[in-house]
Each structure stands twice: as structure tokens, then as C-alpha cells.
């Protein structure tokens, strides 16, 4: 546009560039708009902050983000890309070792490979998706700021007597030749509206009735909430603000929580299943968990934490029975029940040594599966631990080997010294588990010594094993309170904006001719019925629908 646009209204008010309706009297300023269609009332026709005649580079960026049209485009692009992310499972749904570059191609073929190559396997962590969210956040700030301030100014200094064109080109209008006294009728009409919760402003016979202006701020409060929400989410990437890891704790064990100074002990894990009579026919006989619980103790390491040679010194800080939905909470750290494994694990046995020749029993002695003492003295006998195996087997070369590091099929080789035995000691192979004893024929291997002595466990009370392991999910989220505050703001704003509507009625009487115009930001139906009821009460019967001046429902 060449030259300076004339933005001075005939009422003498100087408007800024981009103003649609005079900020003072409301007369439409677009001189080429000679129609009598309802006016565009958005933001009360005031100029947005960003509207300027000579935009420079910064203005252009500002204007880009200030446009609702652009904002809608960004919303649409965001949900379309979010859809793409749900086609195949995302990478983060796999907890254990898995190689995405192989997995997707193996499972889904070529589409899976392309899915991986385009980075859609981590859509929601990708820079472009985050970028979209950042742009939406920017748009929320700039759009709101650009509109709320001028709108606030316009609404806080409204003129009561509006230009006839302004009134007659509202979406809800009414014209009538008054026969009664003008002042009196206006008083009456105002009183009726007052009863409906309107605030009445008078300027002679001109009248402005307004209600629920606060609902105009709803969208902006909602946007503030959303910005807070987005910032809170962003804050989670600050180191130490967020943690999400898993820890497996067998019954009775104490395990360090990775990357923290905390240790967690599982004193006892229990699982309860639904009984058959509690289940519908279809599910009878299936193991459907009803409750699982970990009796957990949280410790904090107070000294020797990083010492490789000494045991850390732990201090109990919290004790809690963790069940689903009831995590252990301590200083922002939360331990959730995630899963469990009911494979039993042998921890220790308390066997006795029996001298078969005399029938004498010695012991019992404590034999842990891991890191057992190297020597046990039992009466006249001495047991020197020579070797131990976690999962005993005979290797290819005929030598004993272990197949794993977990006590699946433990075995111990002792050198036994004592009465009637070789003074240098005789080897004795001991399997704590009965099944292994039979499988590897313990007595045959031990040969001669098996006739003299026996190491055995008497009764289950001398067996210490973990019935199950609990899987706990360790979480920490310091941004959480801000997330809720953001959500609350956003919700309050939404409610304000949706369930209340800002309604205004302008009225002027010129020589007995009544002109009435009404505007609302939502719900024209309610607007019309407000006007029609008030008119009816003052003796003017009118069908609400006839007040409609056409145009669109905004």
C-alpha cells in the first residue's frame, strides 16, 4: 500500500493501522466496504499489535507466528505427523536389548526398514517433532500477546453511544419505532437486562449492556496454561530432573538403583491370583493376578559409596509396601511395581556333615551360593572349599564347568579332612539341589568317600531361597508440579471461554427510532433469546429467530 492510510475516524479518534472498526464509536473504517453484511467483530475490530505499515525482518517473523492461520496449519501438521508415529511400535516400548536397525526390517519388512530410516521409530523424540511443538509454543505466546493487549484496551474503554452503522450491522439486530417515552423505556429495558446479569451503562438514551466479559480472557488463560505445560515438559530434559529406569530385586537382596545414591531391598515379594470362583467361565483356570506386592526398604548410602574395596554404609530412609498404583515415594524418587518373575533362586543352604560310620552328625553350617567362606570346621572334620560352580556341567574335555553365573544348578567341591580320611584331604562334590544330585550321580562321582561321609540338608527350614524377583520401575520427575499447574490453568481458561459467553447489547434511540445491536463471541441462540425476552418484558413481542441478521456463526 502506498502512502499513509487514513485511519482517523469521523468521530475524531485516531486509530492505528489495521483497525477495522473505529476504537471509539465503532464505525467501520474500511471505506471500500459498503455492504450491509454483519461486521467482522473479532477482537472488537481493533488492530493487532503486529499490524504495521512497513514491516521489517523482525516484524515479518513476528507476523508469521502471530497468524491464527499459520497456527492452525501447525496444529494440523502436528497431528498428522503424530499419526505416523503410531503405525509401528516406537523404539521406547522395547525395554531390553534390541537393535532397532535390525528389528523393524525383520519384523515388518521393507516398510519397517523405511520407517526406521525416516526416523519415525522415535517420532516423538525427533528434532522435527519437538521443533513443531516449539513452533506451536511460540505461536501461542505471540498470537495471544498480539491480541489480548489491544482487546483489553478496547474493552476497558468502550464508548456507550455507537455509530448507527455499527449497531445496524451487528449479527443480532432490532429496529423499532417507539411510542412510549424514550427515557422511561430505556430504564425499563435496562432493568430487565440487569435482572439477567447484565451490567448497564447509560449515556442519555444510549445504552450498553454487557455481561461475562471475563470469558474473553478464557482462551488466553488457556494459552498461558499450555505454554506453562510445554515449558514444564521441556524442563524434564534438564539433567537430574527426570529419570526412568528399571531394577530387578530378588527376594532378600539389596540392589543399588543405577545412577543414584539409593539402594533398595526387597524383603518379601508376594503375588496373589484370582481364585477360580472369582473368575468368569472363560477365564477359569488361568492365572490372573489380583495383587502383587513388594515389601521394600529404601536405603541411602552415607559413606564409602564409591569405594570398590569396602561395603558401602547404608542408612534406611523409607519403608513401604509397593503395590500397583501405590509406589514408594521418597524425595521425588518413586518406585513402582512393574512386573515380577516367580522363578525361585537358591541363596544359601545349611547342610550337616554325617559320619556314616559312626552315625554322628556335625553342623549345620552356613553355605551361601555366592562368595562362601573358604573353610568350614565341623567337629573333627575340616571342609576346604576348592571350587564352586553356579550351573554345573561336564565340559567337552571331561572337566567340570559352569554354564552361567546364576545359581541354577550349583555345585561345590570340598577337600575334606578328618578321621579316617586321607590326611591330604579327599575331594567331595556336593550338590545342594536334590535334582542335580541325581542327575550328576553325586555318589558315583564321590566314589569311596561317599561311603564314609555325607553332606546333606535336613528339611526345608535349612534352605534359603528367593521365591521370586520383583521388577521395579524407578522414576523421578521434578517438573511434575509445573505440569499440573499448566494443565489446571489451561482447564480453567477452557471452562471460562466455553461455558460463559461475553454478551453485549448496544442501543440508541434517535427521534423515537430504536436501534439495537447485540454481539456475543459464542452462542447466538442464547444472545437472541436474551434480547427477545427483555423486549417482551418491555412490551415488544418478537420472535428470537427474527433478530438474526444473517452472516456466520463465529
Amino acid at each position: 500500500m502506498l502512502g499513509v492510510e487514513n485511519t482517523k475516524c469521523e468521530c475524531g479518534h485516531q486509530n492505528s493501522v489495521g483497525t477495522v472498526l473505529c476504537e471509539s464509536c465503532g464505525k467501520p473504517l474500511e471505506t471500500d466496504d459498503l455492504s450491509d453484511l454483519p461486521l467482522e467483530m473479532r477482537y472488537d475490530g481493533v488492530a493487532r499489535r503486529s499490524q504495521k505499515s512497513n514491516p521489517n525482518f523482525i516484524d515479518r517473523i513476528w507476523n508469521f507466528f502471530s497468524s491464527v492461520k499459520i497456527a492452525i496449519h501447525m496444529i494440523v501438521i502436528t497431528f498428522l505427523t503424530a499419526m505416523l508415529g503410531t503405525i509401528y511400535p516406537q523404539e521406547n516400548t522395547f525395554i531390553n536389548n534390541f537393535d532397532p536397525s535390525v528389528y523393524y526390517e525383520e519384523t515388518y519388512g521393507l516398510p519397517g526398514k523405511l520407517y526406521y530410516l525416516f526416523g519415525l521409530t522415535h517420532t516423538y523424540e525427533s528434532w522435527w517433532f519437538i521443533g513443531l511443538l516449539v513452533m506451536i509454543g511460540t505461536s501461542l505466546v505471540i498470537c495471544s500477546l498480539d491480541r489480548v493487549l489491544p482487546l483489553y484496551r478496547a474493552l476497558s474503554k468502550q464508548q456507550i453511544r455507537k455509530h448507527p452503522q455499527f449497531i445496524q450491522r451487528q449479527k443480532t439486530v432490532f429496529r423499532h419505532q417507539l411510542e412510549d417515552d424514550e427515557e422511561q423505556w430505556s430504564d425499563q429495558f435496562g432493568a430487565q437486562l440487569k435482572r439477567k446479569g447484565y451490567r448497564i451503562h447509560r449515556d442519555g438514551t444510549a445504552l450498553l449492556a454487557e455481561k461475562n466479559r471475563f470469558s474473553r480472557w478464557g482462551p488466553y488463560i488457556n494459552h498461558i496454561g499450555l505454554i506453562l505445560f510445554l515449558l514444564a515438559i521441556l524442563a524434564r530434559s534438564i539433567p537430574g530432573w527426570q529419570m526412568d529406569s528399571y531394577v530387578t530385586v530378588p527376594d532378600g537382596d539389596t540392589v543399588q538403583i543405577a545412577d543414584t545414591n539409593y539402594y533398595v531391598k526387597n524383603e518379601k515379594f508376594t503375588v496373589e491370583y484370582y481364585k477360580d470362583e472369582e473368575l468368569p467361565d472363560k477365564l477359569k483356570g488361568t492365572a490372573r493376578a489380583k495383587l502383587f506386592e513388594t515389601k521394600a526398604v529404601l536405603y541411602e548410602c552415607v559413606s564409602k559409596c564409591d569405594d570398590q574395596l569396602q561395603e558401602p554404609v547404608l542408612e534406611e530412609v523409607k519403608r513401604h509396601n509397593i503395590v500397583v498404583n501405590e509406589p514408594l515415594k521418597y524425595k521425588g524418587l518413586k518406585l513402582y511395581q512393574f512386573d515380577f518373575d516367580t522363578t525361585p533362586r537358591l541363596n544359601a543352604v545349611r547342610p550337616v556333615l554325617v559320619d556314616k560310620r559312626t552315625g554322628e552328625t556335625y553342623g549345620p553350617f552356613e553355605l551361601p551360593m555366592k562368595d562362601s567362606p573358604l573353610q568350614h570346621k565341623l567337629g573333627p572334620f575340616t571342609l576346604d572349599l576348592y571350587a564352586n560352580y553356579m550351573e554345573f556341567a561336564i565340559g567337552d574335555n571331561g572337566e567340570p564347568v559352569t554354564l552361567s553365573r546364576d545359581p541354577v544348578a550349583p555345585a561345590f567341591i570340598f577337600t575334606v579332612k578328618g578321621p579316617g580320611l586321607d590326611p591330604a584331604g579327599e575331594p567331595y562334590l556336593y550338590f545342594p539341589m536334590q535334582k542335580d544330585k541325581v542327575k550328576f550321580s553325586q555318589d558315583t562321582i564321590n566314589a569311596a568317600v561317599a561311603a564314609k561321609i555325607e553332606i546333606r540338608v535336613d528339611g526345608m527350614e535349612n534352605v534359603d531361597f528367593s521365591e521370586a524377583s520383583t521388577y521395579l520401575n524407578v522414576r523421578m520427575d521434578r517438573a511434575l508440579p509445573y505440569v499440573w499447574v499448566g494443565a489446571a490453568f489451561s482447564m480453567i481458561g477452557l471452562l471460562m471461554g466455553s461455558y460463559w459467553q461475553h454478551r453485549r447489547i448496544w442501543l440508541r434511540i434517535d427521534n423515537g427510532e430504536l436501534s439495537l445491536g447485540a454481539h456475543t463471541n459464542k452462542n447466538w441462540y442464547g444472545m437472541r433469546s436474551d434480547v427477545a425476552t427483555a423486549l417482551q418484558k418491555t412490551g415488544i413481542a418478537v420472535d428470537p429467530k427474527s433478530l438474526d441478521n444473517g452472516g456466520n456463526n463465529a
Partner: protein, 176 residues
């Protein structure tokens, strides 16, 4: 009015640039840190005790060629490799080769017996609670990391090697 508006615009745009840049930046770079270790990346630090109670830190060996091997007595190819590493250690140690063999959280007796049986002289480190193993993202055993003098990984070898394989790699490692 014009002046203050301009300041507000610039302040907001700069804030957006910083916050948004941080968000997008951390999305761009976090993915790379978390991925499995690759040749060229930095190996995670560790601090572990050996069988004699000496503490070894990976950082102690900065500037030296280091071979970090994860092994267990329950893994036959590891068992086969260990004496081969011993021979290689004897061969190259004068040129500054360091071998750190990290045991996969086994029983003290088991490790001691093994070391005595094969008469190993390079440090055998004890990784209690599988901590180091996890930080290295181990999936199968044995796994050997060849670490350059500059502290970057030359190669990660998953699975057993022949002695010639080891020799060739160590030679390459020492030349760099």
C-alpha cells in the same frame, strides 16, 4: 509505544530462540549419546578393584593403548581367549599395552581358581552388580574393546577371537 513494542518483540523472539534451540538441540543430540557404543565413540568410565584390592580407573590409562575384555568362566570362548591374552600381554607389554579383563560378576573363588589355573598376570577386575557391564551395553560374551591412546574406541569385537586376530588388532592399536 513503538520503541517498547520493539523491545518486547526482540526479547520474546530471543527467548524463543534460546528455549526452542535448547529443546530442538537436545532432541538432536540426545539420540546420539544413548545409542550403543560404536567405533570412534568414547568408552564409559569405570572404577574397579582387581583381585589384589588395587583400584583401577580407565582414566588412569589415558595415553596408553588399552584392551578391555569382558569375560566369565561360564563362557567357553572367553576361557579359550584368556591364556591367549596372557601370551599377547607378555609379547606387547613393553610397548605399553594394557589389558584390563573385567570379570562378569562371578564368585571370588571361581575367579581366583581360574586365574591361578591359567597363571594370568594382567589385571583381572571385579565388576560387582554388573554395573560396568551395563554401562558398556553388553549383549553377549566375550566382548572386547580396543581403545586408542587418545581414549576413543578403535574397534569393538563381539565374540571369540583367534590368537592371530588378537595379535593383528593389538599391533594396529599400538601403531596408532
Amino acid at each position: 509505544m513503538g520503541k517498547s513494542r520493539k523491545t518486547v518483540q526482540i526479547v520474546i523472539l530471543v527467548a524463543v530462540l534460546i528455549i526452542g534451540g535448547y529443546a530442538i538441540g537436545s532432541a538432536l543430540f540426545s539420540g546420539k549419546d544413548e545409542g550403543p557404543l560404536k567405533a570412534g565413540s568414547e568408552p564409559p568410565q569405570f572404577e574397579l578393584a582387581d583381585l589384589d584390592g588395587h583400584v583401577h580407573r580407565l582414566s588412569d590409562y589415558k595415553g596408553k593403548a588399552v584392551v578391555v575384555n569382558f569375560w566369565g568362566t561360564f563362557c567357553p570362548p572367553c576361557v579359550k581367549e584368556m591364556p591367549e591374552f596372557e601370551r599377547q600381554y607378555e609379547k606387547w607389554k613393553d610397548q605399553g599395552l594394557v589389558i584390563l579383563a573385567i570379570n562378569l560378576s562371578e564368585d571370588t573363588l571361581t575367579v581366583n581358581n581360574f586365574v591361578r589355573r591359567f597363571d594370568l598376570h594382567y589385571p583381572i577386575l571385579r565388576d560387582v552388580n554388573r554395573k560396568t557391564e551395563r554401562s558398556y551395553g553388553l549383549k553377549s560374551y566375550p566382548t572386547t574393546f580396543f581403545i586408542n591412546r587418545d581414549g576413543s574406541i578403535l574397534e569393538i569385537k563381539v565374540g571369540g577371537m583367534t590368537e592371530a586376530d588378537i595379535d593383528e588388532r593389538i599391533e594396529r592399536l599400538l601403531q596408532r
